[in-house]
């Protein structure tokens, strides 16, 4: 009987170990996108609804009336796709539709497109009120990371 229990425990531990390994592997593979802002931006955290409005270009000023400049990567870049789905809870094509409507009906302006995350960090650091996002490590204090509050 004890032998069966021992076998059962071994199987349980091995299974748990496998699960933990898989879980760790998966979680370590889930990319994390950080929302970055220019140090002039006072807000330290932001709601998911608000960040949706900012990247949909519906909200174009911070609460202290400072103008918001939005920087984005192209649709093809993984960082943009992860940002849309994981942070905004939207699909990249939805943002495209919104921006197209703004640009081609005259209603508003689309975000400024940048080529790389490095350029994103540089542009956000240089423009007061700017906001963007990166997946790469952030070194230095040229930009602030802003926390996105989930519902």
């Amino acid at each position: 009987m004890n032998q069966i229990r021992r076998h059962f425990c071994s199987v349980l531990f091995i299974s748990l170990g496998c699960l933990l390994f898989v879980g760790f592997s998966v979680s370590s593979q889930v990319p994390v996108v950080r929302v970055v802002v220019n140090p002039s931006v006072e807000s330290k955290e932001i709601s998911v609804e608000q960040i949706r409005r900012i990247f949909s270009m519906r909200q174009t000023a911070w609460s202290n009336d400072q103008a918001i400049t939005v920087y984005v990567l192209s649709n093809q870049q993984q960082t943009h796709q992860v940002f849309c789905i994981k942070v905004l809870g939207m699909f990249p094509y939805q943002l495209d539709r919104i921006w197209n409507k703004l640009v081609y009906s005259g209603l508003g302006e689309e975000p400024i497109k940048v080529q790389s995350e490095q350029e994103m960090l540089e542009r956000v650091s240089q423009r007061p009120g700017a906001i963007g996002y990166v997946m790469q490590q952030i070194i230095g204090d040229n930009v602030n990371v802003i926390r996105v509050l989930e519902e």
Partner: protein
């Protein structure tokens, strides 16, 4: 001087002034698209129903922010669509925007000049090929014969955006009119009309709600427009008036793989004296479409749509049209139902090709409207296909 011309002068002046101030850079975007199309057994594109290259759309737009409160935006387009709408250059929109309030939870602005129609799902970018789900939009609502009038107004637009616990809200209000060209008039009234058709005024209101953190959008809009006709020399028509009142509801769902869109409308059309002195017609049309798009990949999108339109909800099969015209006009001029399938392939950055096929029953949305062309449009069922290559920047 026409309001549009005045707005253009104002715009050029402001842009020039802004250049001299060397503020923000001028933004320029545009699109170019060319296709081939065939609408057999109807005059939808050409009278002979042959394959045609009358499917050209070119546009350039620009926007300039003068300061945080004022902004200019304009778009010029060149269009060729055969019988669908008049060919040539035109100012699509050109207005001065005044931001009245810009807070995190509220945005209110007004636009004066030539404004787009912001009230329907696809009306504001109707001429921009890559923003449309299909080359030819559902004719129940996006009636090409009436395109230039429905496209926008010379006048004033008021736009408010806010958000609360329920979601994001958009309120749009527009007031103004549109110039009706000679070709547009003939599309509506027939080639024998020599008088002047005027769009007296047009007022539209729309409300949109996107519930928080969902993929749904709901909207409704109201339209009231008045037209007057002044009889010309040797005219077959008479001085009269026409009023259109429309109510529309729309729904949009945007999922990862699926996008579902639907718009339905009810439109009351009152016509007085135009066909003959004492003529009076008051009918209510109904129509709408249900459209599904499936994203096979980031590059490939499939489309299926069913669109229906009845000119008179109390005469859906057009029997009254046959009776009143003493069988000169077939009943199928009172309806137009359309089944569409299509595919869009975005094969390079900012370049895509769109192809579609339409099977159509009825001729109720074919030009001219007041005096139907029963000679060319003598088929109850007809087909259309189109392929268009488009590039945008």
């Amino acid at each position: 001087m026409k309001l549009t011309t005045r707005a253009i002068c104002l715009g050029l002046g402001l842009i020039g002034q802004s250049y001299s101030l060397d503020a923000e850079p001028l933004k320029i975007n545009g699109f170019i698209a060319q296709g081939i199309v065939q609408a057999q057994d109807s005059n939808f594109v050409t009278d002979d129903g042959d394959v045609s290259v009358k499917l050209t759309e070119i546009g350039v737009n620009s926007a300039y922010r003068i300061n945080p409160s004022f902004r200019m935006a304009g778009q010029a387009v060149y269009l060729e669509g055969g019988n669908r709408y008049p060919d040539g250059f035109r100012i699509d929109y050109l207005f001065l925007e005044w931001q009245l309030l810009n807070r995190p939870n509220w945005k209110i602005k007004t636009q004066i000049g030539r404004n787009k129609n912001y009230h329907w799902l696809y009306s504001s970018t109707r001429d921009v090929p890559h923003t449309r789900p299909s080359i030819v939009l559902p004719q129940s609502l996006y009636f090409d014969v009436f395109r230039d009038v429905a496209l926008g107004v010379d006048g004033l637009v008021f736009i408010a955006q806010t958000n609360n616990k329920l979601g994001e809200w958009d309120v749009n209000l527009s007031y103004g009119n549109s110039r009706i060209t000679e070709e547009q008039k003939k599309n509506l009234l027939g080639s024998n009309s020599s008088g002047k058709l005027k769009h007296d005024f047009d007022i539209q209101f729309s409300l949109y709600l996107r519930p928080n953190l969902t993929n749904f959008q709901f909207g409704f809009s109201l339209l009231d427009a008045d037209f007057s006709y002044q009889r010309g020399d040797n005219d077959t028509l008479f001085t009269g008036d026409e009023t259109s009142q429309r109510i529309m509801f729309n729904l949009l769902y945007q999922g990862q793989r699926w996008e579902i869109a639907s718009e339905v409308m009810k439109e009351r059309v009152i016509a007085e004296n135009i066909l003959f002195p004492g003529f009076y017609s008051d009918v209510t049309a109904e129509g709408g479409y249900l459209q599904a798009r499936y994203f096979l990949s980031n590059q490939l999108t499939m489309l299926a749509r069913l669109d229906i339109y009845d000119r008179d909800r109390q005469d859906r099969d057009g029997k009254n049209i046959e009776t009143l015209s003493q069988d000169l006009v077939p009943g199928y001029f009172g309806l137009m139902d359309q089944a569409t399938v299509g595919v869009t392939w975005k094969f390079a950055k900012n370049i895509q090709i769109q192809a579609e096929y339409h099977r159509v029953k009825g001729t109720g949305r074919l030009a001219p409207i007041f005096t139907p062309d029963t000679v060319i449009n003598n088929s109850k069922y007809w087909n259309m296909w189109a392929i268009q290559l488009m590039y945008w920047f």
